[in-house]
Amino acid sequence: MSGYFSDVAALARKDLVVELRSRDTVPAMLLFVVGALVVFHFALAEDSSRLAAAGMLWIALLFTALLALVRAFVAERDEAVIDGLLLAPCDRSAIWLGKTLSVFAFLALAEAVALPAFALFYDPVSWELIAGVALANVGIATVGTLLGAMAAAARARELLLPLLFMPLAIPIVVGGVGATLADDPARYLGFLALYDVIFAILSWASFEYVVTE
């Protein structure tokens, strides 16, 4: 058991270090999310409700996440480095978990920039929103990493991943917006947690089928 988690730790560490050194994805994510929030100002009417602004935040977060997810497996696949991991005796799901953890970290970084920006441009940020974002993060990272692996093996992967992911992201958005605005955010947060648990287990279990040839 401890072997499994040390594998995960080694793999997650690898993903983090690789990204920090290549500086490909994270700067783009940060710029994109702030840019999106700015664009949305011009897209919203003057007297827009809080609902519209909150919705825009979630859209911005979702698309920023897609940036990260599309690239999650691309490099490893193109240079076939993933073969090295597949040859190793580690459990395939450990590859997924390591990657998911690093994606989660990058998303959290983007959110750490996006939420203050949102508070600055639009509305103050409540604790419920932060909790919602955190829970949504889990869902996006777990499902997105799995789908990223699926798409990486296909042609036109940058187009395919958003298509695969959007329908699955709808419940996340519902939960997130609900947590932000509803009178009883607990229900929406609970729903997000349910989504997370169900799809995390599903993704964890099915990764090995998706990544091997």
Binding site: K14, V81, L87, P89, T212
Partner: protein
């Protein structure tokens, strides 16, 4: 060690391997020859477990932890240093006394000086030598080399030949090459593949 009956592999519409029958015992040295496109790489990847057969049966009587695969790609991360790369694989393969073993291999393959440089900065020959380190790190029982001499520099080639000579009953070697002259006197078994 390896048992194959009617082994075949198809990619989409194209059939790359068809009806391979093969038995390799432990300690043998199998040389796979054939022109480009005859399926040598596919065969070795099947042995390594990277792909599964689409026809026939294949049995490789050892587990992943004891297979070493040297392919066309070095399978190392460009953004990590050689040391970090080997450390990662060392952890995944649960190698005891990881640091010592890594140090020993880097030294032996002439990469000790470059151990803390970004792998992206290494020459092709050095990359392939690093790949060789990765392959031998866990002292594999089944060593699979796919056209290993095509990317190795002179120093690396010598080291590989040296390594291949260190045969014992516990290690099985499969090498594919379309220039088999270098290994002429070593193999115990030969397999020739034809395209299609």
């Amino acid at each position: 060690m390896i048992h194959a009956r009617g082994l075949g592999r198809r990619f989409g519409e194209k059939r790359v391997l068809n009806g391979i029958d093969l038995d390799v015992d432990a300690g043998e040295f199998l040389l796979v020859t054939g022109p480009n496109g005859s399926g040598k790489t596919t065969l070795l990847r099947l042995f390594a477990g990277l792909i599964v057969p689409t026809g026939g049966e294949l049995e490789v009587r050892t587990d992943r932890a004891r297979i070493g695969f040297l392919g066309h790609e070095p399978l190392v991360y460009r953004e990590l240093t050689p040391l970090e790369n080997l450390d990662l694989y060392g952890r995944l393969y649960r190698i005891p006394e990881r640091r010592e073993r890594i140090g020993m291999l880097l030294e032996r393959f002439g990469l000790w000086e470059a151990r803390r440089e970004q792998t992206a900065a290494l020459s092709r020959g050095m990359l392939q030598r690093l790949a060789l380190c990765r392959t031998l790190l866990h002292e594999p029982e089944l060593l699979l080399c796919d056209e290993p001499f095509s990317a190795l520099d002179a120093a690396g080639a010598d080291l590989l030949l040296d390594e291949l000579s260190r045969r014992n009953a516990r290690r099985t070697i499969v090498v594919s090459s379309h220039q088999p002259e270098r290994l002429a006197d070593r193999p115990t078994r030969l397999l020739s593949l034809a395209p299609g």
